[in-house]
């Protein structure tokens, strides 16, 4: 049954204004998707330019100032424009209401306003890039960004850009938390929510509670730059370490805004592709919220050598170890989910395996940076660069790409090319490891971070890393190309190609504008038996469908509470 004729959310209205002024969460999700992918490639180009520059000691293609602008904008664009909105806003917007069987998020107009704020913030960032070029590092550390940086207009523009993007993130978080609290269908208790929604809910809490502080910090930088109020300027009695406290109070929870949604995607992938109920559902759900809470009491581990007092450093170091426990529980539970399953190694599952590898290394290398003794040698070296790339780019990118491939049939009604997907995924993971594993060793050998030019003995590590960076860039380009081609040329996708049991797979191959005519019956989100493989359909069909609604599966009668 081809999915082209009937009206769905893609062809129900045409034209720019029907997309730009849409209130439909699915269209907003798609627009976020393409915007964040575009910003990711822009940031990627900066990264590749830096890698070419760092291929050998001495100046290759850019000057010192240009290099400083490159790493600043690479960091700022990737953090504020790409990785914070990517999984929650792009995939979350598209999937969350459908997973809840709802028609839309709680505040559709606010959702649209968030996307428009994202665009405005992006314009501010690009204009700051074109003005004088921001060279303060994405962290805007105080006396340099507020007083000494020559890029006056760029700092003010970028700071307002970050302020606006902060509100875009707050409103997204606000929307999701309100939707999960108030718009769950009857029968969907908190412990029958899919784990992706738990992760998005925990991320929403962090977005609400942490982002305002970066808003006020950015405003203070702008006011400090324009009116010289001197709160962070030591020449006027201010305190630069106070800026670091205010900055990292947001920025550490922000890294959990980046990783938690990816973990949510992973819970869905492991369970669906192993055709098995997720192992330790309540532990994973509680781990998401635990990580969200603990993320607020650990920010000082970024400041062990910044002049922070020893007492507070010790407390921060101890608290940071508590983050490791819920994370470990999640990873072990996912591996346990694979036990005795029937694993379908499709592209999303390769990204899930990649996530285990990359987040394994990323998370464990965090232990060196939490232990007070080893952090002093490793702080602000390439060890830290490799650590956060493994955790942020490695794991969050795996979640983003895994989620894109997993929900691609539902988004466009087309299947992506499986073989190409698997090859590109392996290429990306290998390329990533070749890029960032040598940087760990460069870091322990003492190569400092943000260096335009480095000593002779670090050359070998940078050369391998540059080679790996191009391998990564190539794989990402292939992925982009075959995904775009699959929109028109991909095989027509069935309603449920993977056999996922969450509610978004109970909609038509391409969902209609308001998702469900009437909210489907809510069962256990990981009860794989309600769908079985059907050869003709080349997808999964409900075991006993609701008469008249072929896609909606009837939950099993005795599917008691999922405890």
């Amino acid at each position: 049954m081809s999915s082209e004729q009937n009206v769905n959310y893609l062809n129900c209205s045409k034209g720019f204004s029907s997309w730009f002024w849409t209130l439909d969460h699915k269209r907003l999700g798609l627009m976020y998707l393409w915007s964040t992918i575009a910003a990711m490639f822009l940031g990627g180009i900066f990264a590749l330019t830096m890698r070419v520059e760092l291929f050998a000691p001495g100046a290759q293609i850019v000057s010192a100032d240009q290099f400083n602008q490159l790493f600043t904008l690479h960091g700022a664009i990737m953090v504020f424009l790409v990785i914070i909105p990517s999984v929650p806003a792009a995939l979350g917007n598209f999937v969350l209401p459908m997973m809840l069987g709802a028609k839309d998020v709680a505040f559709p107009k606010l959702n649209r306003f968030s996307y428009h704020l994202w665009l405005l913030g992006a314009i501010f960032f690009v204009s700051s890039m074109l003005a004088t070029g921001l060279d303060t590092g994405w962290t805007f550390y105080a006396p340099y960004s507020t007083v000494h940086s020559p890029a006056y207009t760029a700092v003010v523009l970028a700071v307002f850009g970050a302020f606006i993007l902060g509100f875009s993130s707050i409103f997204t978080g606000l929307n999701f938390v309100a939707t999960v609290h108030k718009m769950r269908p009857p029968g969907m208790t908190w412990f029958r929510l899919p784990l992706f929604i738990w992760a998005i809910y925990a991320t929403g809490l962090i977005q609400i509670l942490a982002t305002p502080v970066i808003g006020i910090t950015m405003l203070l930088i702008a006011v400090e730059r324009i009116l010289e109020i001197g709160i962070f300027n030591p020449a006027l009695g201010g305190d630069p370490v106070l800026f670091q406290h205010m900055f990292w109070f947001y920025s550490h929870p922000a890294v959990y805004i980046m990783i938690l949604p990816a973990m949510g995607v992973m819970s869905e992938l492991f369970s669906t592709f192993a055709r098995k109920k997720i192992f330790g559902y309540s532990f994973i759900a509680m781990s998401s919220v635990a990580i969200a809470v603990v993320s607020f009491i650990v920010w000082g581990h970024h400041m062990f050598v910044s002049g922070q007092s020893p007492l507070v450093s010790i407390v921060f170091s101890a608290m940071t170890f508590f983050v490791a426990i819920p994370t470990a529980i999640k990873i072990f539970s996912w591996v346990a989910t694979l036990y005795k399953g029937s694993i379908n190694m499709a592209t999303p599952m390769i990204y899930a395996m990649g996530f285990l590898w990359l987040f394994g290394i990323g998370g464990l290398t965090g232990l060196w940076l939490t232990t007070l003794e080893t952090d002093i040698h490793l702080h602000d070296t390439y060890f830290v660069v490799a650590h956060f790339h493994f955790v942020m780019v490695g794991s969050a990118l795996m979640g983003f790409l895994g989620g894109i491939h997993y929900w691609w049939p539902k988004m466009f009604g087309r299947m992506y090319p499986e073989r190409k997907g698997q090859v590109a995924a392996v290429g990306l993971i290998v390329g990533f490891n070749v890029t960032f594993l040598p940087q760990f060793v460069a870091g322990t050998q003492g190569m400092p971070r943000r260096y335009f030019d480095y000593a002779e003995r670090f050359e070998i590590y940078n050369q391998i890393s540059t080679f790996g960076a191009f391998l990564m860039g190539l794989s990402l380009l292939t992925i982009l190309i075959y995904l775009i081609r699959s929109i028109k040329r991909g095989k027509l996708a069935p309603a449920n190609p993977w056999g996922g049991a969450t509610l978004e797979w109970h909609t038509a191959p391409i969902p209609d504008p308001h998702n469900f005519d009437n909210a489907p019956q809510v069962g256990d989100p990981y009860d794989m038996e309600i769908f079985k493989w059907d050869e003709t359909e080349k997808g999964y069909v409900p075991v006993n469908p609701v008469p008249g609604l072929p896609y909606i599966a009837q939950p099993k009668a005795d599917s008691g509470d999922s405890h």
Partner: protein, 324 residues
Amino acid sequence: MIPKMLSFFHFLPQDGEGDFFFPAQASNLAKFNDWLFYYILIVSAVFFFAIMLSAGYFSWKYHKSRCPEPQPSPSHSNTIEFVWSVIPTIFLAYMFWQGFVGFMNRQNPPADAYQVHAQGQKWSWIFQYPDGTESNVLHLPLNRPIEVSLGSNDVLHSLFIPAFRTKMDAVPGRLTSLWFTPTMIGEFEIFCAEYCGTEHSSMITTCKVETQAEFDAWLEEAGDFISKLPPVEAGKRVFAMKGCAACHTVDGAVGIGPTFKGSFGTERKLTDGSKVTMDYDYVYESLMDPQAKLREGFPPVMPTFQGQMDDEKIRVLVEYLKTL
């Protein structure tokens, strides 16, 4: 490239030379730091390979081609969850404890530590010794505890000596400190580890560890070099020590600041269009208040040397500039 890769094989740290992960162990802090690093490496490697091997094995054994239907298996068990929470916690607690012990050792320098002050400024370090001598290179006596107090004239800098495994930010507006005992003779790199602007990556100097005798000889000789050396030579030393070379070149090349090659005594254009001859008064005033008469076409980034250069040093500096 081959010799470097050979270092891979002598995995455990040796005194003389670094190993795969670390540069040479040149201070008392290095041994404990490296040991703790390897402890965490082993614990992490064990857990990591446990996860990856079991994930790999499960995906091979339960691949859909081998078992098309998932067999029934428990979907939750509190005991397993409890076990794989407690066991990592034990390792983490020990990690924290060792880190805490090492950190406390770094906080309390011995009472008889030799005091050196490191003043960071945009793109060079100046090390001041108790008797007032200043130098760009950190000369240190062997096997004697050194306490380095850190300050900065403008932005955040960070004194990072990889071979000593130690690092501390130089924060403007306060004094921070670190201590260590150099245990190996030789020259070790000093990097700036906190981003501080254009020349952040060339804010590099060396730390030279000598025997006590050599150190005393150097200190005595460097002490009153102005009276001992001819003025031009002393001026050259002041030019290097104060980090002027970071922005002003002497060979005519373009730098952050104007080049001094053949510039002394000649007319110079200022930003406000007026002209001034580069004489002793202009050099003196530019050192005290750099932005007063700013040369045209150059950024106002020169720090002030108010209170850091006495007239003697300026006199010999001008002598040196005359010879360029």
